[in-house]
Symmetry: C2
Subunit: 253 residues, 2 copies
Amino acid sequence: MNRQTLNRLILEKRSCLCVGLDISSISFEPIRRIVEETAPYCVAFKANTAFFEAHGWKGWKCMEETVSYIRSRFPDHFLIADAKRGDIGNTAVQYARTFFERMDFDAVTLSPYMGYDAVEPFLAYRDKWVILLALTSNTSAADFQFSLTPDGAPLFQKVIEKANTWAGRDKLMYVAGATRPDMLRLVRAMAPDRFLLIPGVGAQGGTVEEVMQHAKTPQGDILINVSRAIVQSEDGPGIAAKEFAGSIARFFS
Amino acid sequence: MNRQTLNRLILEKRSCLCVGLDISSISFEPIRRIVEETAPYCVAFKANTAFFEAHGWKGWKCMEETVSYIRSRFPDHFLIADAKRGDIGNTAVQYARTFFERMDFDAVTLSPYMGYDAVEPFLAYRDKWVILLALTSNTSAADFQFSLTPDGAPLFQKVIEKANTWAGRDKLMYVAGATRPDMLRLVRAMAPDRFLLIPGVGAQGGTVEEVMQHAKTPQGDILINVSRAIVQSEDGPGIAAKEFAGSIARFFS
């Protein structure tokens, strides 16, 4: 799926919600139910590989089943593998095959620490995306991402500057956390016409309002991921997703 | 396995060779053969998760079988999951369970980009290790790892400085590539009594001699990983491993 198509979906649906499937389940049924209930309110699903892997090969099989199911039942939803991989050339080639060929994900999250080598094999796929970690939403993002470089810019800014030269806005987007609005604004300034995948709304404390104000472009270019606050909601995932979608829709009027 | 035990194994065997199982195979038999042939010459095995994942759930099952087999047949060998994971708290907990509970690995490689949050859940396990990426052996390590911080030190040095405070030398070691001997020496100076896992010897051009001179301590504290040059050797993995072990043994006299 390319940028134009994804932005059209977002504007039509007036939602940029991505539902994060952080579910510890060895069986497919509870995942299927969450997908069914939330699909009307979101434009994307994000599978967190860790939760599947924790169940071993049966969990991995469940992830494959989940991907096939979403692909056939909701072909218009953007599908993200939140894998945060990052390894050199020949190993990266294997990971790209895994997520783009064996499973038909649209995008995979990658860590920038090893540089371009770790990203390049993923860029060979047409209409597939790399989502590069830039500014993460966790507390200890401060450990290295905020390290200053000699020109006074933090490391995450250097990551964006450099990675902007690796691929165009149809292939490469950034993770930018909702928990530090001032920095999120800086990310948007550094990447004015690229998609941002924004975690940190909900359980981690970021708000839809701040994120939409700081990071949405006129075209859209934004995916807000909510995981726990939807899949673990006491009201049920469908109702929680509908509520998030409601607070998002106001900004697409 | 703690540092003392691993160092004793290395000194007794006069080998610090780690065989990297970078094999694209859906069946366990070729992996078993490589393990059998090379075990006498090495003290560690490293499973590259990417090569297993590329075969989907069957590959993942093959990885579990490989781990069980090495654990029962060669219980004294140190067993590394080269997974290069790195994600926040609740997700990191899942990954730690996967590699330390579901599969009985001794160590897992992690990326430092997200900071301490991504490492901490792994440190809760007794006699298990985190192997943190510091200086990698690939060309584009230069993209960010060599970025200077305001005091003139490169980022990988800052990673080591900070991570040295996260856990002791019985729980945390670093990846330090063989391809840049001067920087490898700097890593050793920053972490004088910690294990280093050293990739980049063999196919990537680093030499055993340089690595041993720059990175070995009197106690050992070193694992030299060789993957392709052993598992894809025309002479067979056993003969290739024996040759590497021979050139290593000279430094343990």
